[in-house]
Each structure stands twice: as structure tokens, then as C-alpha cells.
């Protein structure tokens, strides 16, 4: 659907000077606080050459400001963030994904929670675009990871209208709100990759958006599946958790060494989910009294009356726990606690 003229990007004359354009960007709050690449007409045109659809096509309306994310507006934010033009289809798919009602973008954008949007790219495009799935995959250093995550943040801020302190009400926020993007390591992977698990073909390329509260590293030299599952489950158990209160969707980035321990023990991905779900149940009495009331409001229909000794599962079903395999060698995995009132959404990338 083509957006009406009122929802199309404006153009204006600006000095051919990087410092002047960045001053303008600061004044108009177009940036995340870092310098931007000037979105000149020529750069936006180069980006749009990879769109595979009309520049004025409306991809989504983005809460909380309900700005219309046209292909052109997405492209402008991609330029601002420093993306290569070939990255644009990933951002078009990610923009459609965050607008899916299951993702609950209004809450994610406007909450006091620090939730960031984590992008996971699967399929052949991840390697073609050199999206890092190995060493330091959620750290610095890879152009695609850095600029794709940054571009989505600028889309959410500039089109969705979630400016910090205004419609973005995050109490602290988190570093992942600058950028949070990786690929899955489909080469060193003992099971089906995420997109295949979610019903896509292995040859498809997809992007998954996750409402991520942060990252908690788990360095463990555990060598048996039982021990590894136990220490991961004990990391999940924390009383001030949106997931236990609402019944969430916790995510894990398993290092390939940890994934291999589970595989050698004969556990497939679903068996790992069931083990973590069972081991991470938390007695209701560990929550604060107010959180117990909140949990009762959210979870009584699912679990019945919550008594002090009721064991609270982190998610309604074991299958709600989500696992990807990524990172380099090492005895590390990452727990990614999530927003709670949100479900990840995966979209195929049109290439």
C-alpha cells in the first residue's frame, strides 16, 4: 500500500558539511547520541536500489507515535546509521516484525523497562552480509551487526516517535538500545537453526525480533548436561523478573561448546527447553508481596490459585523458552531475560 503524501519524507537544503549536519541532527534529535551519516538524496537512492518494492510503500505504522514506516523512511534511517545499501531488506522485514501485534510494540517503546529490540538474522543472507555469529557476536566490531541494530533503533525513535524522556519512558534503558544484532551460528550448530524451527525453509533468510531486557553471561566449565542445565536454570531464577510475573519467553544464546555438551548427552533442542523449564521453577514466596499480587493478576487463569509454595514456571510452556547457538569457542552462554508481555516475531527477508 502506498502511503499518502503527508506520510512521505521531506527534503531540504543543508550545508555540505559533516559537522553542520551533525549539529542539525543533534538539534532535531534524529540521532541516538552518536554522529550520523548525512542522508543525502544520492545515498538514500543507493539504499532504495535494494528495496525490491516502491519507495512510498507503507511497511507498518509504528507505536507509540504511529508514524508510517515507508520504505523510503526506513532507507533514510539506514543511511543515518551507516548501513550498506544491501542491508535494507533486513530492516524492511524487521520493521514489519516489530509491528506485529504479538510483539506488543506500544509497551516495548513506552515502558519504564529497559527492553531493547534484539535482531537475530538466519539463513544464507546472514553470511552474505557478514553478520557476525561467532567471536564477539553481540559485541563490537562487525559493521553489519553494529549498523543494522542501530538503524532499527533510529527507525523506532524517528518513525515510531519513542524519544528518550518523552514517549520512551525507560527508567535506565540499556546499552543494547544503541544496537543489538547478531546472526545464528548455523555451521557449529547441533540442532535445527531458529528459522527452521519456526517453520521456514533452511534456504530462506529471516529476521527475528526479540524484546530483550539485557544480557547475563554464564561462564561455566560444567561438563555434563545435568550440571549445565542446573546452573543455567539457577541463573534464570531471579525474583524481580517480568518473566515469572507475566509468564514470559526467555532466550538463550548457547555457546557451541555448551550446545555440544547437550547434544552428546542425547538432548535435542526441545529436551533442553523442557529440562530448563522444569529446573527453573521458583517458589511464589521468593517474589516480593507486590510481585505476588501482580503474578496472581497475570497468571491465575493459567496456574490457578498461587500459594506461597506454588512453583512458578518462567513461561507458560517449556516450548516458550527459546535457544539459539552463536558465539566463538569458550565456556560461555548468555541468558537474555525478556520483557514478559511480548513474543518474538520472525519474518522472511525478501531478497
Amino acid at each position: 500500500m502506498s502511503a499518502p503524501a503527508t506520510d512521505r519524507a521531506a527534503t531540504f537544503e543543508a550545508p555540505d558539511d559533516l559537522d553542520a549536519i551533525n549539529r542539525l541532527s543533534r538539534e532535531r534529535r534524529w540521532s541516538d547520541g552518536l554522529p550520523v551519516v548525512p542522508p543525502t538524496a544520492a545515498r538514500v537512492e543507493r539504499m532504495l536500489a535494494h528495496a525490491r518494492r516502491g519507495r512510498h510503500d507503507a511497511v507498518a505504522r509504528l507505536a507509540p507515535g504511529f508514524g508510517v514506516a515507508t520504505v523510503e523512511r526506513i532507507a533514510i534511517n539506514a543511511v543515518l546509521a551507516g548501513c550498506d545499501p544491501e542491508y535494507l531488506p533486513v530492516l524492511i522485514a524487521a520493521t514489519a516484525a516489530v509491528a506485529d501485534p504479538a510483539f506488543n510494540l506500544q509497551a516495548i517503546q513506552a515502558t519504564t523497562n529497559p527492553v531493547a529490540v534484539w535482531l537475530i538474522v538466519n539463513g544464507p543472507l546472514a553470511q552474505q552480509l557478514r553478520i557476525n555469529a561467532s567471536f564477539n557476536c553481540i559485541g563490537q566490531g562487525a559493521w553489519a551487526n553494529a549498523t543494522l541494530g542501530r538503524a532499527l533503533r533510529l527507525i523506532l525513535q524517528n518513525i515510531g516517535g519513542a524519544l528518550p524522556g518523552e514517549m520512551d519512558r525507560a527508567t535506565h534503558g540499556q546499552p543494547g538500545k544503541y544496537t543489538f544484532c547478531c546472526a545464528e551460528n548455523e555451521v557449529r550448530h547441533p540442532w535445527q537453526p531458529l528459522h527452521v524451527e519456526r517453520g521456514f525453509a533452511a534456504a530462506d533468510s529471516t529476521v527475528t525480533v526479540v524484546g530483550a531486557e539485557g544480557t547475563m553471561n554464564m561462564n561455566t566449565h560444567a561438563k555434563t548436561a545435568d550440571e549445565l542445565a542446573r546452573v543455567i536454570a539457577e541463573t534464570m531464577i531471579h525474583p524481580p523478573s517480568n518473566e515469572y510475573v507475566h509468564g514470559g519467553e526467555p532466550w538463550f544464546i548457547l555457546g557451541s561448546e555448551h550446545a555440544e555438551i547437550f547434544r552428546r548427552a542425547g538432548l535435542d533442542k526441545n529436551a533442553v527447553k523442557h529440562a530448563l523449564w522444569a529446573l527453573s521453577k521458583m517458589p511464589v514466596k521468593r517474589l516480593s508481596s507486590n510481585e505476588i499480587e501482580r503474578a496472581r493478576a497475570s497468571r491465575t487463569p493459567e496456574l490457578g490459585e498461587l500459594a506461597d509454595d506454588t512453583l512458578l514456571p518462567i513461561s507458560p510452556r517449556a516450548e516458550d523458552i527459546q535457544l539459539i547457538v552463536a558465539g566463538g569457542p569458550g565456556t560461555h552462554s548468555v541468558y537474555v531475560p525478556c520483557f514478559g508481555n511480548s513474543r518474538a516475531v520472525t519474518r522472511r527477508i525478501a531478497v
Partner: protein, 68 residues
């Protein structure tokens, strides 16, 4: 609802008033009446909630009737 000529009032806590005003502007209803309650709202005693609700009800009446 406001755009369809119905009386519409939003109730929000002080911490979210900026959001409420900004979102109303973004949705083209900048003059949306907003009744404001103290933040945080959760964890208050029942009698406090009743007092806040009584005040809020008065505020809503004033916003609807234009009184005060």
C-alpha cells in the same frame, strides 16, 4: 473515540503524563483530556487507592463538564 465525537478521557499516572500528551499529539487529538493520578500506582493500600479514585472521579467530572 474522541475523533468520533464521543467523550473520551485518559487516566494516567504522573510518570506517564509526558507520554500521554505526546501520544495524543501524534494521534491528532492534542487536546485529549487526561486525568492524572500519582505515580507509582501499584503497591498502595486499599484506602489510598480509594482516596486517589475519589479524587480522580472528581477530576474526570471536571474535565467532562469543563467545570473548575
Amino acid at each position: 473515540m474522541a475523533k468520533h465525537g464521543k467523550v473520551a478521557i485518559t487516566v494516567c499516572s504522573t510518570a506517564f503524563l509526558t507520554l500521554g500528551r505526546a501520544q495524543a499529539r501524534a494521534l491528532g487529538i492534542a487536546d485529549l483530556p487526561i486525568a492524572v493520578i500519582p505515580h507509582p500506582f501499584g503497591g498502595r493500600r486499599r484506602e489510598e487507592i480509594r482516596r486517589i479514585a475519589d479524587q480522580c472521579a472528581d477530576d474526570i467530572v471536571q474535565l467532562v463538564t469543563g467545570a473548575g
